[in-house]
Symmetry: C2
Subunit: 318 residues, 2 copies
């Protein structure tokens, strides 16, 4: 059972990322105050959280008693001051626009406990811009989750340039203590780490489909029945390290010419994302997916990922 290093947290903003954070914190024992200025939005997403808890009981991920305990740790608030009153870790997930993020950060910095950590879920903005000029800029940090964070452990971390190592460690240690995997960046890059890798995959996958080399189903099959099975366990360098008996040095030395040639052959054009392109790729995807709804697919994905994570926990990386 996780033992969170911080017991009182706040979730600010309840979109699809914010509402998932409610679950991340409350299930490990944190008292979780949830803020949204819009009462109907707040209620809708707390209802979503309750439904997710119910579904998890049905799927055997928790007992009814555990679900009730988790539920009891969460309260909804439409006043920010009340929501932040006891929080020592605040996770912001308001809409992804710089002026909105800046405004809520200014307010949070003014209202929060002076040593509370204020983390942003932003997937694309620079935390140094979001927190620019705030008295508490040093305690602001980027903590970008992958969707949904109660299923996917990775959280990308970027401290502001005013942060101390101690403050960053406090945020990182807290996220580790609740079972997430904080992944630290050294400076800002558009798309951070994971989305940059995803951009590279999207570009080549669309190129393969658009150039007619293979259809959508084949491109996806080679990932989910091939490459992707390894990436659930090892990252790029870990995979390369297991591709030769002598590890990554032998592998790169042996295949460096093939890699230089192969990488040089990749198409670097940016896909158009024109209506026609989207339509072609979407038709291929719809033909592949068949009748399953996005909701069913997501539920399946999340159920299986949790089981994969449980396998890894039981039999961890040597």
């Amino acid at each position: 059972m996780p033992n969170p290093t911080i017991k009182n947290v706040a979730v600010v903003g309840t979109g699809i990322i914010g509402r998932s954070w409610i679950y991340v914190f409350s299930r490990v024992g944190c008292q979780t105050k949830v803020y949204d200025k819009d009462r109907s939005q707040l209620e809708k997403n707390i209802t979503w959280f309750h439904e997710t808890l119910r579904q998890d009981v049905l799927d055997g991920f928790s007992t009814p008693q555990e679900a009730e305990d988790i539920r009891s740790r969460v309260s909804g608030h439409t006043d920010l001051k009340g929501a932040l009153s006891e929080a020592m870790y605040i996770q912001e997930s308001v809409p992804e626009r710089l002026e909105i993020k800046k405004a809520i950060f200014a307010e949070m910095d003014r209202l929060a406990h002076s040593s509370a950590i204020i983390a942003s879920s932003s997937s694309g903005l620079d935390i140094n811009e979001i927190a620019a000029g705030l008295p508490g800029m040093h305690r602001c940090i980027l903590a970008h989750p992958y969707n949904p964070p109660y299923v996917i452990p990775a959280v990308e971390i970027l401290p502001t340039r005013k942060a101390s190592a101690e403050q960053t460690a406090r945020a990182v240690d807290f996220l580790k203590s609740i079972g997430q995997v904080p992944v630290q960046m050294n400076f800002y890059a558009k798309g951070f780490l994971g989305n940059r890798i995803q951009y590279a995959i999207v570009r080549e996958a669309i190129h393969l489909a658009e150039s007619g080399i293979a259809d959508v189903q084949a491109i996806d099959d080679v990932m989910c029945h091939g490459l992707g099975l390894r990436y659930a366990l090892l990252g790029n360098f870990g995979v390369n390290n297991t591709n030769a008996d002598g590890g990554i040095r032998e592998y790169y030395n042996r295949f460096k010419d093939a890699y230089r040639e192969g990488i040089g052959d990749l198409n670097c054009a940016v896909p158009s994302f024109s209506p026609d392109m989207i339509d072609r790729v979407a038709k291929g995807t719809e033909a592949m997916v068949g009748k399953a709804s996005v909701k069913e697919l997501c539920r399946w994905r999340d159920r299986l990922i949790r089981k994969i994570c449980a396998l890894k926990e039981k039999d961890p990386h040597p």
Copy 2:
């Protein structure tokens, strides 16, 4: 239990790919004749196969009786004619050089049963060049596995331009019947599908490490504790389809500007793979991996992948 549509097969060449194919065929009930012109190479790799069987009994993947049955279906041969005498499907895995592949294909085409399928494991050559000019070019096909094929189901398929749909279907149906996932390409592209996607990932991962945005461990963590968990279940388009309630159309329409911008920001330079670059990346990888040997890591990877595949079999894509 799989029911192979072809009962007699041959494995030609016993490197790390060839020896894995022995297991793929024999475990589903195929009589498997294994050819290598070099007797010591042949014996070494049949010994590897026996050891893998033993390890699988220890790991609970098969019973001693099953392992004995699998073992009994395999015989080693140093004469090609004898090895091919009954085979209706032949999987070639000799070294990856065009002149070597061409020579063995000419011999196999001459010696094999006239309606046997002759498949190449080549990871980079064009089957149309390997089989160019052969009387039996129509029955030659590329069937490129991912390593190791007894763990990773995906097999990339490219028929020659002389193949008939019926011949391709016969090869595809056989691979499906033994539990592999054939992935069909429409024409040759350097790196086929999976390695092209892997090239794109390697390029961006090395760029992230070399530019100092993050260290090797962070880049790998975002994959194996983030993106990669999804790719074990869904390919690029399947993931994109589950990223918005309205599926891939909504997702691409909503995020097309972010994608165009993000993809446009990727570095397209080809990594140098210079001794210094390899050394830096290898040091990061070695620091990440710690004391585990490549052999231990591979055994862990393969054990876990088989369990992930079993989860997917039990609870398949809706």
